[in-house]
Each structure stands twice: as C-alpha cells, then as structure tokens.
Amino acid sequence: MDANNLLILVCLMACGAFLLGRYRAYGVSGGAIRKLRSLPGHYGFYSLILTAVPALFLLFSWALLSHTVIDGLVLADLPADMQGRPAAELELLLNDVKNSLQGVGSSGSDSTLVDTLATRYTELGKRADLLLWVLTITFCIAGMAWAWKNIRLEYPAQHRVESAVIFALIGCSLLAILTTVGIVLSVLFESLRFFQAVPVTEFLFGLEWSPQMAIRSDQVGASGAFGAIPLFTGTLLISAIAMLVAFPVGLMSSIYLAEYADHRMRAVLKPVLEILAGIPTVVYGFFAALFVAPMIRNLGESIGLTVASESALAAGLVMGIMIVPFVSSISDDVITAVPKAMREGSYGLGATQSETIRKVVIPAALPGIVGGVLLAVSRAIGETMIVVMAAGLAANLTANPLEAVTTVTVQIVTLLVGDQEFDSPKTLAAFALGLVLFLVTLFLNIIALHVVRRYREQYE
C-alpha cells in the first residue's frame, strides 16, 4: 500500500492506455490508417494523457495536502473543551501523537489522550490510503474508457495531444513567475509579522543589532534590538572592498583579453579565468578564513596595526577575486561588441591602441560595463558563504576595513540555522532581512539588465 507502488501502477496503466488507444485506432480504421484523421500514435498518446494526468494530479495534490487534512480531522475529534486551546498547544499535541507512532517518547502530554489520538491517526491514514488507491485506479480506468469511446475515425487526436503538450510547456514557463511570486509572498508574510513586533522605522534606521532574545523577560537584553543599519553598512563595506578589487582587475583583464591578447592566448586564458567563477563559494570562504585572514592579520601586525581576525578586508578581498570573472565576462562581451569601424577611425587619427581603448572603446561600451558592474554588486551583496565563514558576527557600526563587521546574509544564516520558532521576532527578523536583500538585488538586477539590453540593441 505504498504511494510509490501506486505511482508505478499509474505509469504502467498509462503505458497500457497508450497501446490500447493505438490498438483502438487501428481497429476503428479497419487497417486503413489513411482514413484516420490523426496518426495511430496520436490516439495512443491521447489515451495515455487522459489516463495518467488526472490520476497523477490526484496523487500529487494528496501528497501535498494529506498531512493538513489528517491533522485537521484528528483535531476535530478532540473533546469540546480541548477545541478552544491555542493553536501552538494543539500542534504540540499532534507532534506527540506522531512521535508516539514512531516510538519516540512524548514531551509530557496526557498519554491516554495521545494513545487514542494515535490509533485514530493510523486508522485515518489507512482509510485515506485505501480511498486514494480506489480513487486513483477509478480515475485511470475512467480516463481510459473515455478515450476508448472517443476514438473514432474523424476524432482530432493530434490536435488534442498537441494542445496538451503546449499547455504543459506553458506550465513549465509559468514556474518562473510562480517562483518569483513564491519568494515575494514567503518573505513578505513573515516580514509583516516581524514588523508587527518591531516597527519598520526602528528596523531600517536603528543603530543597534542584537537579536538574541532572552528566555525570561527579566534577563539582561531581554527585548533584543533590531536596528539593521550596522548590517547594511557592514554589507556595503565588504561589497565596496570586493568591487575595489573586482572592477579594476576584471575590467583590465577583459580589455587585455579582448584587445591585446592574440587568438591562442585568449583561447587559453578566458576559460582559465572562468574557473574562478566555477569554484564553490564555500571553498572561497574556507580559503579566506584559513589563509587570507591570518595573512592580513600578520601583515597588519608587522606594521603595527591591530587587525581583527575576521576583518572585513579578508572577506572583501576574496569576494572581489570571486567576482572578477563576472565583471570580466560581461565587459568582454560589450567590448567585443563595439564596432570595428569606431576603432579604425580612432587609429586613423593617429591614436595609440591604449588611447583608442580609453577614449573610444570604453566610452562606447560604458553602459554595458555599468550594467555588468551593477550585476557584480548585486552578487557581492547577496554572497553568503564567504562572509559567513570569514566575516564576523558582531554588528559593529564602522567603516574601518580592518575591523570585523557582519552582513545581512550572515545574520540571516545565523538566525535561521539551528532551532527556529516561527513566532519569535528573532526568526522572523531573518525574513525581514531577506526581503530587504531581495528588493535591493532585484532593483540592481532590473536596472543592470535593462541597461545591458538597451546597449546590446544599440549596436545590433
């Protein structure tokens, strides 16, 4: 009675339906396929779709909803005096029921109640399983029968099948929109709950960040402080350091590769530089924490500076190197897109190659380069692993790159890794930070993509 077995059964029935549909088409045509309006295979696929799609739809929607439905039914059976309890308590009770079913100890709820609920739970589960099997198989057979009945000489199966295919393709591409909607809704709802506890102005303009809430209200720092300015400045500081590395290095290397390097050198160096983009960020993070940060620290100490062991400089430098390929590949694209005639005009006036590049090529390519830089900035702001591993946790409001700062992404990770309670501002704060992060990067991306697109059109 496993859901997997049912899935396999549905697939087998679908295959059967294909054969059956084709057989029926041969049958109604009496061997003269030319009389059929569509190819026999189309009738097969038509029958397959009618058989499998409704059944699969049923299976998946049940897989998504089963827990909610069964939980609700179990709770509806509770005695009347239990119904009014707060939702959190009921949820705890349900967890106990599920734990007792798996043989794990409970957290101290009434054990007889848990036992009765557990029997009810298994009973409901079994009944639901049976119902699912019966319904699914009925759906399959009904679909098959419907198809069998419909298959006639003049039935436009090809048209139906192709509409279904296009429909499925549209569904695939709508997933992109669904994802965006999902992102917006998920961060927005939790953020709104957060802003009920903490005012928006305090979050956006507050200067102090210490989200650790005490368990008892009389402890020190009980309220927690949710001023995100130190996180924003920390993010900006590290991103600025990264861009100070990535922009000149990326731009100059792309200029060299596009304008100076001969064909062979370019063919070797370009993919080699791209390797930097393929290295997982966790590797950069490990490298920054283990090699670069101590090196900067020793270097600083040798000239008499105090450098934090998790300095913004180390994280920023390594992030900068990581971003180099983004800047260089986009710059390379736009520089090579500048028409040759513009260069030749400049050479004709007696300009050297570097003068041509600086005074003609770069200004012409500027919009594209700006777009590339904006994309790189958005990547730097959203980058997580390097800063989680190499930057600090303390929210210092400072512009000194030698001190430890924390970033938005670091805080999201620290707030959400480990135990989460979805009613404390501490957890919800992560979603508010996520919302800010999403909006800022979205803004940068839209501008950047727009600029790059406009630029491409200009020379196409």
Binding site: E162, V165, I166, A168, L169, G171, C172, S173, L174, A176, T179, T180, G182, I183, S186, F189, E190, P248, V249, G250, S253, Y256, E259, Y260, L273, L276, G278, I279, P280, T281, V282, V283, G285, F286, F287, A289, F291, I321, T352, Q353, S354, E355, S378, R379, G382, E383, T384, M385, V388, M389, I412, V413, L416, F431, G434, L437, F438, T441, I446, L449
Partner: protein, 433 residues
C-alpha cells in the same frame, strides 16, 4: 626638464614636441598593456595560491596513521554462532586493546599513564576491531596483529602538522611522544591510505569521519534536481523560444527568468524554508527538500542556455519541416529539439555543477544537521558535500582542517569532471550552421 633642448633653439620645434609626446604616449601604451597583463596575472596567482594552499593542506587527509597492536582474542569469550550479532557487540573490545597496550608498555603503571597510553589509539578503534573479528571469525581464539587508527592528535603529530609551532607536539605529552617514537621504531606505527574517509559518515572524531554520507546526500539531491529541472527548464525554453507569442506576458516571463538568475541564492533558501518546509511539510534536512530548492535555483540557468541553443538552430530547418506538412509541435519535437539537445545537456550539466557547489540555501532548510548515518534515499536526513565542508571548517579540531581541505579536493574533482564533460559535449556536438 627639457632645458637643454630649449637653450639650443630657444623655441621648441613641433617635431621635437611631437617626438617627446610620442615617447610619453608610447610609455603610456606600454603601461596600460602592463596593467592588463598584471591584472590577469594577479587573478591567476590568486587561483594558484588557492589551489596549492588547499591541496597542500588537504593531501595528508588521504593518509591515516595506524598503530599495529597484537590483540589476544583468546582472552575473552566470543559468541559461538556468527549470527549472534548482539553477542559480538557485547564483547569488550576496548578492554582487549587496552590490555594489549599495557602489555607492550609495562612502564605505564599509574592510572594516569595508562589513560595517556590509551589515548594514542582512536576511541573508535574498538569498532574497527569488532568489524575485523566479525568479518573473519576464524581469528577467534588466536592472537592477531591488527592495524588500528591512531587518535587524531597522534595523526597530526606524525604528519608533522605541529612542526614550526611553539608547541611542536600539540596536545601530546612528552611521554606520549616517546611512546609514538618507540612504536615508530618497531615499525608498528605507519601511515596508510585512509579508507575511512571514503566509507564513513560524519563523526565527532576526525579519524572516524568520512565524506560518504555527504557524498550520497549530494548525489540524491542532484538526482532530484536533475529529474525536475531538466524537463521543466527545457520545456520552458521550448515554449518561450518556439511557441510563445510576442506579448506583454512572455516579456514578463523573460524578465522574470533573467532576474531569477541573479537573485541571491540565500533568498531561495528562505523560499524553501517558508514554502516547502513550513507550508507543504516536506521533510527537513532531506535531499528532496534540497532538490526542490536547487531546482528553482538552476532553472534560470538551464532556461537561458537552452534558449540560446534553440535560437541557434537555423529557421530553414523549421521551414522545411512545416513545408512538408508537419505541425508546429511535430516540427519542434522531431526536428528542432534533437538538433539542440546536446547544447541543452551542456547547459544542464553546468547548472548541475552550480547546484553541486551551492551551500547557502541548503543551510536554511536544515541540511546542516550532524548526521552520522549514510542516507539511503531522498527522504532520509542528510547533508551535502559543500555543507559538510562548511561544518568541518567550523570544527575546532586540527585534524578536521585537513579533512575540510580534502573534502574540497573531492568536490573540486567532481566539478572538474562535470565541466569537462560539458566542454567535451560542446566540442563534440557543436554545429556551425
């Protein structure tokens, strides 16, 4: 500066001025060129530094110090039947190991010395001894030589990780170092290939930990990602490129896809946490949840690259198919897609390589738990290779550092293989129309 020129003629000739200017301009030209070269060299040097640093730290993790002990299996009673697994588990293997050690070093008399002596051997050694005995029950009743893993402090010392530091022996006492030297002289302490690293799951003891669990987790996660993102991504690309009418809706989808490609990965983690885990109740820490999140993340990559490939298929092929009476769907699926398939596969492999290296969103959906068991399916709690790297990098034990670097080497090896496959496919099937 040019006072000598000026005194000669009084007034500088245009040619002179031009020559001087030229010299300056050529110098600027050379400088500019040098900057370009220097920035490439800088990036390459950094890469070299990164790889040598990690390889230099990590290669020693593929070796493990082991100590040969002579264990007297006659001294304890083993269960009669090989099937009696509980009986085998009940035997005091740690006691056997201790006795063997005390017999070899009778000078360790006091309780403290004995404890220090036993600390040379990994706390997991009894497990290795048990496995050895259960694999070869004929050894029971004999006195056998077994190689057992040394403790991670010993391992670090033997591999020379403490050399050049103030405290050149790490946490080991002088006495322990003397014992190690004695064992080494007798040829009973050697470094062997570290099979544990490839066969074990995570552990709190570095010498017992391995990447098998994380690797299986990664494979399951990628499997889920691939089965979902390839058909969906290719389907979306086909629709957008071949069927979609040019209107505001398709424009919106296009802008959306491009935007999603640039959304920070951690935001996808938040989406996964709020939607998949909290709303749909997908099991936390399971590859299926990770696979869903990574599917959404890799989709834009696959869609964008697949569209580029479809765009490159010349319209004449479509026109020819339509001309002989094929429907639009037939044209696309029988003629256009087969031409574009290798390119789409290339894009998918690159997307998968990205997904394999992704860490941040998986932290959000609880794949950071400490999991010892090796996952057996997509619903088992597990971790993935990059998250394992992150977890080990956070561990205070010295020995985890080399393991982190070694795990990175394994991860990079996988990425190299995947990218090389993509490059090969591209080269092999690339068509110039």
């Amino acid at each position: 500066m040019n006072s000598s020129d000026n005194t000669n003629s009084g007034k500088e000739s245009t040619a002179d001025r031009m020559r001087r200017g030229l010299r300056r301009r050529y110098a600027a030209e050379r400088r500019f060129r040098l900057y370009g070269l220097a920035s490439i060299v800088l990036a390459l040097l950094f890469m070299l530094f990164l790889f040598t640093g990690i390889f230099g730290k990590g290669y020693t993790a593929f070796l493990q110090t082991q100590i040969r002990l002579t264990v007297d299996l006659a001294s304890v009673e083993f269960p009669v039947s090989v099937e009696d697994i509980d009986g085998f588990y009940a035997v005091d293997y740690a006691g056997l190991i201790k006795e063997s050690l005390y017999a070899d070093f009778p000078e360790a008399g006091s309780r403290r010395d004995r404890r220090a002596l036993y600390q040379l051997i990994s706390p997991g050694a009894s497990y290795f001894l048990r496995t050895r005995v259960m694999e070869a029950p004929e050894l029971i009743g004999k006195s056998v030589d077994v190689w057992l893993p040394a403790d991670d402090d010993v391992d670090m010392f033997v591999k020379g990780h403490f050399d050049g530091e103030e405290n050149a022996t790490g946490r080991l006492s002088e006495q322990q170092v003397a014992w190690i030297e004695a064992l080494r002289k007798e040829g009973r302490l050697e470094t062997h290939f570290n099979t544990t690293f490839f066969t074990a799951g995570d552990s709190r003891e570095p010498e017992l930990s391995g990447i098998r669990g994380a690797l299986m987790g990664s494979i399951f996660t990628l499997l889920v990602t691939l089965t979902l993102s390839f058909p969906i991504g290719v389907g979306a690309a086909i629709y957008l490129e071949e069927f979609a009418p040019k209107n505001r809706w398709t424009d919106l989808i296009e802008v959306n896809v491009n935007n999603l490609a640039a959304v920070p990965s951690i935001v996808f983690g938040l989406l996964g946490l709020a939607v998949f885990i909290n709303f749909f109740g997908v099991p936390r820490s399971a590859p299926v949840a990770g696979g869903f999140v990574l599917t959404l993340m890799t989709l834009p990559t696959i869609i964008i690259s697949s569209r580029a490939v479809l765009k490159a298929v010349p319209p004449s092929i479509r026109e020819a198919a339509l001309g002989v009476g094929a429907s639009r769907v037939q044209t696309v699926f029988h003629h256009v897609v087969p031409q574009a398939l290798p390119g789409m596969l290339t894009g998918t492999i690159i997307g998968m390589a990205q997904a394999l290296g992704e860490t941040a969103p998986l932290l959000m959906i609880g794949m950071v738990a400490f999991i010892v068991d090796i996952p057996g399916g997509i619903f088992d709690p597990s971790t993935v290779l990059p998250v394992q790297i992150f977890l080990w990098a956070d561990s205070p034990e010295r020995a985890f550092m080399e393991r982190t670097a070694a795990a990175i080497m394994v991860l990079l090896a996988f990425l190299v293989v995947m990218n090389a496959t993509a490059v090969y496919l591209r080269k092999r099937f690339e068509k110039k129309w």
